[in-house]
């Protein structure tokens, strides 16, 4: 299993020595975050604290920008921009994103 110090424990309760590495070391971990279907991911709003599955959040999509809003307080959680063959993910009021592994 993964024995990285930031996995499975809150940041203020490390359960092992801190390893000073670089982003390459997160390839496998972040693949679990971003390769999953995101509709069941739990998103928490940093403004009002409401948390719920991404599938239940409000979306406004005009083809260029998809804005994901908190259903409770309407703050923009995140925005996905499509332009020039690239996708740009901009984090707004999103405080936390949880996925089941």
């Amino acid at each position: 299993m993964d024995d990285s110090p930031h996995h499975g424990a809150p940041p203020d309760e490390p359960h092992g020595p801190v390893r000073h590495v670089d982003g390459n070391a997160l390839a496998g971990l972040l693949a679990d975050v971003f390769a999953a279907d995101m509709t069941m991911a739990l998103l928490a709003c940093g403004h009002c604290g409401q948390a719920g599955p991404l599938a239940a959040a409000v979306v406004e999509d005009d083809g260029a920008a998809a804005i994901l809003r908190c259903r409770s307080c309407t703050r923009t959680l995140l925005t996905v921009l499509r332009a020039d063959g690239r996708l740009s993910l901009r984090i707004g009021a999103l405080a936390r994103l949880d996925v089941a592994v």
């Binding site: 999953a36 279907d37 509709t39 069941m40 599955p53 991404l54 599938a55 239940a56 083809g63």
Partner: protein, 241 residues
């Protein structure tokens, strides 16, 4: 939950569902199969390179490279008029999917399932009802409430009526015009008519609500007000009016 980019797909069959909707069967080489309730994205590319994408629910589920879609025309839409009025068997599109994990029925879940469809919102719910009907010995009690403007606006009408033979209770709701023999009310769902056409919160059903955004929001609000736990009410909004 395979996604993996765009795949070419060929229209294998097209048949009318209502005066403004059509059922398309796509042949998608390499399609990994899908779960009941999942959707896909369709991408159309014009001769000048302009591209448009939209999401459509899948009426079929299970393995195989054949995918059935039920598509309702949005008159000022960019994609649906082409899919309903123009595209023909042999034509090609691109698809991405299957997509979604939230609005999906798990055939292994024995909990009662209450389906509530508004208009073309029947499509992913029919996939769930079909899966339930096909599951030999499937035990989960199913009930469907289908709200349509008039009998002529009901997609899959005959198949929905036939679900009762598979043990699925079906309740109709007509918002503008009911069939001649109808002795109930006509109009949008209210707290009373919703309660009459669905299982109560005490039954602890998992509720799937799909349809136009305003229908889904109004229905989900009524369900929660009636005592259904919000986390047991799964919603999928199609947008539009």
């Amino acid at each position: 939950m395979t996604v993996g980019g765009w795949r070419p797909a060929t229209v294998a069959a097209a048949r009318p569902a209502t005066a403004h909707a059509r059922i398309l069967t796509l042949h998608v080489p390499g399609w990994p199969g899908n779960l009941p309730g999942q959707h896909l994205d369709i991408r159309l590319t014009a001769e000048d390179g302009y591209q448009a994408e939209r999401s459509y629910s899948i009426a079929s589920s299970g393995p195989g490279e054949s995918v059935e879609l039920g598509i309702d025309r949005i008159d000022d839409g960019e994609v649906s008029p082409y899919l309903v009025d123009v595209i023909e068997p042999g034509d090609m599109v691109e698809v991405k999917g299957p997509l979604g994990a939230y609005f999906v029925w798990d055939a292994g879940d024995p909990a009662p399932v209450q389906l509530i469809a508004g208009g073309s919102g029947i499509v992913p719910l029919l996939a769930m009802a079909r899966a339930r009907s096909a599951a030999l010995g499937g035990e989960a009690p199913f009930r469907l409430l289908y709200s349509v403007r008039s009998p002529a606006d009901a997609m899959y009408r005959a198949e929905v009526d036939a679900l009762t033979a598979a043990g699925i209770a079906v309740d109709w709701r007509y918002t503008r015009e009911a069939p001649g023999e109808w002795d109930g009310e006509v109009g949008r769902l209210t707290a009373e008519t919703l309660a009459a056409g669905t299982w109560p919160p005490d039954a602890r059903p998992l509720v799937f609500v799909c349809g136009p955004t305003r229908f889904v929001e109004a229905t989900a609000d009524l369900l929660v007000a009636a005592g259904h736990p919000p986390e047991r009410v799964r919603t999928e909004r199609f947008g539009g009016a």
